[in-house]
């Protein structure tokens, strides 16, 4: 094999292993092997403990988006369309993507570090000797929790972002509240909200699967755990950004065809 091909084959092997992990995890999920206490704890860890990050991200994104849109629209006397832009952007793109990225940074890193440490301290081997499949005990609760927590966090980020955008637009920049509200409702469709939530479910899967994969396959020692953590955040973030493009391209015509 040519030396230049090595990283391609590594990348493809990694992708294949993540796919196998996903198959194993979804198989386990469907057979009900996850413990509900573990799932609830993970929802708490991913959802409740991410509140401050999501609130700040959502609020400031909505505010800056409202301000920047207003500055451009004001030149062409379209001030009252500002909130519509904020709303559509937050629902279909910025809400799910930024929530996904923030959760990838906070939760993806934590998953990779925790599972990586368990691997290097032989705790994963101990699980296996106690007749427990690591996927059932470690991956499935995190995957299921991420699938549930991410849409909820995204909905929260969208709501806070639009609210903060409204406060900046109406309260600070002087946009007419009635027209702004009317335009926002007129141009924001169910399709935007549904697309955002579908994306969030998928990003939840990406964050959990990448974090678990990197943790379960990390190298030895503290260096291995550190590298796995960094890689989990980088790979999950890039995957979210790439997936976002294809999801927008695929979901928009699909949801429109479904009459939403």
């Amino acid at each position: 094999m040519r030396p230049g091909c090595a990283w391609w084959t590594d990348w493809l092997c990694g992708l294949g292993r993540v796919a196998l992990l996903a198959r194993e995890a979804f198989g386990s999920l469907l057979r009900g092997r996850a413990g509900w206490r573990d799932v609830l704890y993970q929802i708490y860890f991913m959802g409740v403990k991410s509140q401050s990050v999501i609130l700040i991200t959502g609020a400031f994104t909505g505010m800056v988006l409202a301000a920047q849109t207003f500055f451009q629209f004001h030149k062409v006397k379209m001030d009252t369309a500002t909130l519509a832009v904020v709303s559509v952007s937050m629902c279909s793109e910025l809400g799910p993507v930024l929530t996904g990225l923030m959760v990838a940074g906070r939760v993806g890193a934590a998953i990779a570090a925790e599972l990586g440490t368990m691997r290097v301290t032989e705790q994963i081997d101990a699980l296996r000797t106690l007749a427990t499949h690591p996927v059932d005990y470690l991956v499935v609760p995190r995957l299921l929790a991420a699938h549930i927590a991410l849409p909820l966090l995204t909905a929260e980020a969208i709501t806070v972002g639009i609210g903060a955008g409204y406060l900046v637009g109406v309260g600070l920049l002087g946009i007419d509240a009635a027209y702004a509200w009317h335009n926002m409702l007129r141009y924001t469709g169910a399709v935007d909200v549904i697309m955002g939530l579908i994306k969030a479910v998928i990003y939840g899967g990406i964050v959990a699967l990448v974090g678990c994969y990197k943790g379960l396959n990390c190298g030895l020692g503290a260096e291995g755990v550190g590298r796995a953590t960094t890689e989990a955040v980088v790979v999950a973030s890039i995957s979210i950004l790439v997936a976002n493009f294809f999801l927008t391209l695929g979901l928009t015509p699909l949801l429109t065809a479904l009459g939403l």
Partner: protein
Amino acid sequence: MIEVRHLTKRFGSQTVLDGVNLRIECGESLVIIGRSGGGKSVLLKHLIGLLQPDAGAVLVDGQDITYMDERSLLQVRRKFGMLFQSAALFDSLSVAENVAFAFRNRRDLTPGEIARRVSEALELVDLPGIEHKRPAELSGGMRKRVGLARAIVYRPEILLYDEPTSGLDPIVADSIDQLIMRIRDCLRVTSVVVTHDMRSARRVGHRVAMLHEGRIYAVGSTEEIFASTDPVLRRFIDGISDPKHPDF
């Protein structure tokens, strides 16, 4: 009964096990000795299917586990208990939760019954009343004892010990040895102990096997091995390095 046939394991270009043959009978206590990094723990992990060999086979009660998938292996592993070198307690769980871990999916046991069995296991390892503590609050010797309680609480047929006395002071190491002997005699389990602690090997083993250069170099009763005049065995048992070939 465990049978290891022509087991070979390589990590990259390094051959760690090179055609190991070994037979462990029911109820016996076998000690595997050998140099650090010589593949003792690797061999132990093959016995329970934690590692897959490059060649050869491992049979547990006549069942070939060599290329069994992970889900089928989980059933075989119910026969085993294992004490890890670092104890490998789950940090996020209390001592009681660690010891009761094997019962987490057992619907036939009530919480009261589980608590009773946890308490019994902890008493057997001389650590009663520490159920509520976290692994981080325990000393090295206590961690190993809790690891042992976790391994015996569900009454396995075979117990594997990976360096049970490493990193412990002589008094704690002695108490661990006594514990291994007590468990061996009380529960009548098959024990496989990996160690390079000669005092421990002499006390806990019915038989001793020496792993040297990837192969079983010698195997025999504890008395035979410790009385052997073979230069490789003697050097290892007496802890004498070779100044002409310093292998560190």
